[in-house]
């Protein structure tokens, strides 16, 4: 059903810390690895080792250089579906293949009913949906719905593959609808923001902004200057120092 649920019990999503992401692409490759192997059909690639490689990826990391009052430096910027609360990518779908789950807010595509008309990808302002040319259907981030509820894998793996893979801990997963969850707390603490809120789809995922230089500079206690006692030993060392540095 492509009408949106009025509300969802949970708002599962990701929190991405732009301050510590180093742009290593581990989340990108582990996303591809997990999603090409399990759910549905492989995420196809074309000419992967040739001159013009392309393929369907559900998570991509851009790198920007930012130089303004807000921040100055390089920002690595992971971008995937933000599991918006009111996205047109769901309502435009003519078949009902694109849907938002009422229980946890995850936005999914049913690969068995999608006709591959691509209209949903046109409706996404974030460029988060990618068409799979071999499978003939639209692909997108599933928030690893086949991991997070999967009781056949160890408990510590029941989080999205990207979160599991991130070596710096720049990605977190949780219920952003619950103000007491760890993810909501970190968003509150760090002034987390939604991407492109002006557009109005109410994205669920949150980004933690890079810390400002002033936030980060460590406050170091100023060291006491050593007082000169004028002893014979001190004079000897001072003479040796001068002599050796000549």
């Amino acid at each position: 059903m492509t009408c949106l649920p009025d509300s969802t019990d949970k708002k599962l999503g990701l929190v991405i810390d732009l301050d510590i992401c180093v742009g290593c692409q581990a989340c990108v490759t582990s996303c591809k690895e997990w999603n090409t192997g399990g759910y549905s059909a492989p995420l196809s690639d074309h000419d992967p080792y040739g001159a013009d490689p392309s393929g369907a990826w559900l998570n991509r990391v851009h790198s920007y250089e930012v130089d303004n009052a807000h921040w100055s430096g390089t920002v690595h910027f992971p971008r995937s579906c933000l599991h918006c609360e009111t996205p047109d990518c769901v309502t435009v779908c003519p078949t009902g293949a694109s849907y938002k789950r009422a229980e946890d807010g995850i936005v999914l595509v049913n690969p068995d009913t999608c006709i591959g008309c691509k209209l949903c990808s046109w409706a996404c302002p974030y460029g988060a949906r990618e068409y799979d040319h071999d499978h003939g259907v639209m692909k997108k981030c599933t928030l690893c719905v086949d991991r997070i509820y999967n009781e056949t894998i160890p408990e510590e793996d029941r989080i999205p593959a990207c979160v599991r893979a991130c070596p710096t801990g720049a990605r977190a997963f949780g219920d952003l609808g619950d103000p007491d969850s760890a993810v909501s707390q970190s968003v509150a603490e760090r002034d987390g923001f939604g991407l492109f809120e002006e557009f109005g789809y109410k994205p669920v995922n949150r980004y933690l902004p890079p810390r400002k230089g002033s936030d980060r500079a460590p406050t170091v206690a100023t060291e006491e200057a050593p007082t000169n006692t004028g002893s014979a030993m001190e004079k000897l060392f001072a003479w040796a120092d001068r002599a050796l540095s000549r």
């Binding site: 990826w57 930012v66 390089t74 920002v75 302002p125 974030y126 991407l195 492109f196 002006e198």
Partner: protein
């Protein structure tokens, strides 16, 4: 946006078919038709053929055409689904009209079917326009003017085809030529307003909004791939400014100016109508195709803000 040929053929061919259907049945319902059962039947068949070719062509760009029937299910929220439903529904009165004219039955029900077919044609083309107009991600499409232009161009191409078919059956001197001229002028006016509007606004969304990292001074240093990906190929298709200006000129020339001249000649001279209408229709078809190509190629998608564009 990438102009997929299957979609260009679909919107132009089906648009012309619905336009022809609309005028043909309206003229019949008004009781002023000079068509015989046979000429009505064949003209109706041409309309249905154009519509069917268009609809079939639209399934070619689907990843799973065999599942196309599923697209009729979500009419509550999706304009694409509504278009499918309207297209299918329009076949019913149009098909019955074809049957009645084939059997040479003139009954009161014909007028009712005429009206239903005309409404179906308008609703279907309106839905096509709304598929594009409802996408807030693309400012060149997200305008009330877009469905109006789809309707106007469908009416124009349909009127021209009706005029051509009339001439082929030796029906001349009707008021259809004035109708066609009026459509041409109206559609051209709407297109002019459209171009002025899209040229006049810069796009209300910026890269700063999309990224949330302050105004100005943002530069993409590393794209997330080594070669353009699906999003860039589909949503990032761009036509060069100079190229677009030239194509717009051709479009005005072929779609509006040349057919208007031929039609004026038809009114003013005694030349055989077909001699004038065949080239007029061919020019208009080329112009319409250019118009639709530009409609896609000039459309900018906001997702490109993540790929180094400043505004969309």
């Amino acid at each position: 946006m990438h102009p997929a040929y299957s979609v260009l053929i679909f919107t132009t061919s089906a648009g012309a078919g619905y336009g022809l259907l609309f005028w043909l049945v309206l003229v019949e319902a008004s009781g002023r038709t000079s068509h015989t059962h046979w000429s009505f039947f064949f003209t109706l068949m041409l309309a249905l053929a154009l519509i069917t070719i268009g609809l079939l062509s639209s399934t070619f760009h689907l990843g799973h055409p065999e599942r196309a029937w599923r697209a009729f299910s979500q009419w509550r929220s999706s304009w694409l689904s509504r278009e499918g439903v309207a297209a299918l529904a329009t076949y019913v009165p149009a098909g019955l009209l074809a049957l009645l004219s084939l059997l040479k039955i003139d009954s009161g029900v014909v007028v009712l079917l005429d009206l239903l077919a005309a409404i179906g044609a308008v609703v279907t083309v309106w839905c096509t326009g709304m598929i594009y107009a409802s996408l807030r991600t693309i400012r060149q499409w997200n305008m009330r003017l877009v469905p109006a232009i789809y309707l106007a161009l469908s009416a124009t191409s349909g009127a021209l085809l009706l005029e051509l078919m009339n001439a082929a059956y030796g029906i001349t001197g009707g008021w259809e030529v004035w109708l066609t001229l009026a459509c041409l002028q109206g559609a051209q006016g709407l297109k002019r307003i459209y171009f002025r509007r899209i040229d006049g606004e810069a796009g209300r969304y910026t890269a700063a909004m999309a990224l949330g990292m302050g105004e100005n001074g943002i530069r993409q240093i590393d794209p997330p791939h080594t070669r353009p990906n699906y999003v860039m190929r589909e949503m990032g298709y761009e036509v060069g400014r100079r190229h677009a200006v030239r194509l717009r000129r051709w479009m005005h020339m072929y779609l509006f100016v040349v057919p208007t001249m031929w039609l004026a000649l038809l009114v003013l001279s005694n030349l055989p109508p077909l001699l004038l209408l065949v080239p007029a229709t061919i020019f208009a078809a080329v112009g319409l195709f250019v118009e639709r190509w530009l409609f896609f190629a000039e459309a900018e998608h906001v997702s490109m803000l993540y790929y180094g564009k400043d505004r969309a």
